[in-house]
């Protein structure tokens, strides 16, 4: 038994190393004082925060306009907040309808929620681009926000539906006897009772939008609409890649998802289990 445990611990140790050494290396590179043409190091003898400062407020070592990454971060933030609000506004009433109301087609719609959650939307990149283009919304915030929301709504509905279904019927019935309308029940009962899933799913929507690459690439054409992943990606185009600055921006960019994960760790695994795995 003891040997099994030792082997297990050794394997966990190796995994830990493989998992985290690239992240460590990312951090070391971001402290590099040279702009380009430097050799990689495992330790940085002259750590410098130039890359962070220059990357955010300067000219990115002459690669970009002044403060370009601030604009990308702003765009990521605007799109992320738009997606969060729209996603909650769409999923809460829809999930209430699917969870608490009986009508023909309810089950079918619930299945469609699941299908639209499972399907990889990259398969629809061409028609979705043409569609957004025909509305004149390519390279605008609303175009990107609406498309990204569409991909996130199914998961949010799925989790909300489960949560709303678990609210005791008596509470809602008493409100209905008092003559409250459905809209009022949602506003004054469901929403106050669901603060924690609203916060968790709202953050989930924000982070997913924050990470999105393909549909921002497809739906934006000018650099002042770029989000951070696009800004990072297009820095690769030049002859010299400013790796230090790239890694500095990458790390700042990764902070919100990391915070989100640590804040909602428990909730998220349970939610995904309940939503995707247990059905």
């Amino acid at each position: 038994m003891r040997t099994v445990k030792v082997i297990g611990l050794v394997l966990l140790g190796i995994l830990f190393f493989i998992d985290l050494s690239p992240i460590y290396f990312m951090f070391v590179t971001s402290l590099e004082p040279e702009r380009y043409a430097f050799y990689p190091k495992l330790f940085e003898p002259n750590p410098s925060i130039t890359n962070y400062y220059e990357g955010l407020f300067g000219y990115f070592g002459g690669y970009l306009g002044k403060g370009a990454f601030l604009i990308y971060f702003r765009n990521s933030l605007i799109i992320g907040l738009g997606v969060t609000l729209l996603c909650l506004a769409v999923s809460i009433p829809s999930a209430y309808s699917l969870a608490r109301m009986k009508y023909r087609g309810n089950k079918f719609l619930s299945n469609m929620v699941l299908v639209s959650y499972i399907i990889p939307y990259s398969f629809l990149m061409v028609p979705i681009f043409v569609e957004i283009h025909s509305y004149g919304l390519v390279d605008t915030y609303p175009g990107i926000i609406v498309a990204e929301t569409a991909f996130l709504v199914p998961y949010c509905i799925w989790i909300f539906r489960e949560y709303f279904a678990s609210i005791p019927t008596e509470i809602l019935e008493s409100a209905r006897v008092d003559g409250a309308s459905t809209a009022r029940i949602i506003r004054s009962m469901i929403i106050p009772l669901s603060v924690s899933p609203i916060v968790a799913l709202g953050t989930y929507a924000f982070v997913s939008s924050w990470n999105e690459f393909l549909f921002v690439l497809v739906l934006s054409s000018s650099a002042d609409r770029f989000t951070v992943p696009l800004g990072l990606y297009f820095l690769l185009g030049g002859d010299q890649v400013p790796w230090g600055g790239l890694m500095a921006m990458s790390l700042i960019f990764s902070i919100p998802p990391i915070i989100f994960y640590f804040a909602f760790q428990k909730y998220m695994v349970r939610g995904i289990m309940a939503g995707a795995v247990k059905g």
Partner: protein, 290 residues
């Protein structure tokens, strides 16, 4: 009559209200799933000047070496990537479930970081680490007296490197899912086996394995569907190169549509594999309903 009316009336009202409340979802569903799906079929059958071309695009696909290669690459990327990843995830979940050590909670949190970090930053970091001339990996190999390796630029190696990075990124997530499945097995079931004098590996064989089979299958199919749609990680790593060695369906279609303007042809590239995706989705719905 009156009692019948009283029963049906609120039902009609509830149906109307139900659909009104669900209408935002219905709108998104039709705008971003049903319509694009129908439109993809339309695009694959008609040219950009709206002339009917029928199966012309599909026939062109089958003699397009880049497309055939992208199909093979996708099959390898998904087949090897998903299965190795799931097997490792099962091992990892079991190790985390059965071995106790100090700092286990912190360990579990930290190994999630590769999954939490957005895909473009980690792809760029690997591009830098695996750079043939300046990458740290080749630097270390050089210090050990090993010749530099073209991890992402050697056509024979690139797909393997990309698969490794796929596993590196997604292993933590699936391990966590499988771990929570393991933890949902009631402890008293294990106690019952222990009373019978079974050893821990017998407990694994007779309890864990049958109970985990369904979850493992669901995770594998779900991950297969999602991995078939991968784009960002490969586009940011290799753009499908060198010489199409890592070209998968989505990256290939993106090139056709947005670099060469061949929208109908790109749509037909997806359409061709849509039946496989459809079968997997139906299988998944069945598994979830069981």
């Amino acid at each position: 009559m009156t009692s019948n009316e009283a029963e049906t009336k609120p039902k009609v009202k509830e149906t109307v209200y139900g659909y009104v409340l669900a209408s935002p979802f219905l709108l998104f569903l039709s705008m971003f799933l049903l319509f694009p799906l129908a439109y993809e079929i339309f695009m694959a059958l008609f040219s950009s000047r709206l002339e009917f071309v029928g199966t012309e695009y599909i026939r062109r696909l089958l003699v397009d070496p880049a497309y055939v290669e992208s199909l093979l690459n996708t099959a390898l990327y998904v087949g090897v990537g998903v299965n190795v990843k799931m097997f490792l995830a099962l091992l990892l979940a079991n190790a985390l479930n059965s071995i106790d050590f100090t700092g286990k909670r912190l360990y579990k949190a930290l190994i999630m970081i590769p999954w939490v970090i957005p895909v473009v930053p980690s792809a760029l970091n690997f591009r830098w680490m695996l750079d043939a001339d300046y990458g740290i990996v080749n630097q270390i190999l050089h210090n050990l007296g090993i010749a530099p390796v073209g991890w992402l630029i050697n056509p024979h190696l690139a797909l393997g490197s990309v698969i490794f990075i796929h596993i590196w990124t997604n292993l933590p997530f699936w391990s966590l899912i499988l771990l929570s499945g393991l933890q949902s097995i009631p402890v008293d079931l294990y106690d019952a086996v222990k009373v019978d004098g079974a050893r821990s590996w017998q407990g694994f064989r007779h309890l864990t394995l049958p109970l985990m089979r369904r979850l493992y299958l669901i995770c594998t199919v779900l991950s297969t569907v999602w991995t078939m749609g991968d784009f960002g990680i490969i586009w940011a790593l290799t753009k499908g190169g060198p010489a199409n060695a890592t070209q998968i369906i989505a990256t290939n279609a993106y090139r056709q549509a947005f670099e060469f303007g061949e929208f109908g042809y790109a749509a037909s590239m997806f359409l061709f594999v849509l039946p496989i995706l459809g079968i997997l989705v139906i299988l998944l719905l069945r598994l979830l309903r069981e």
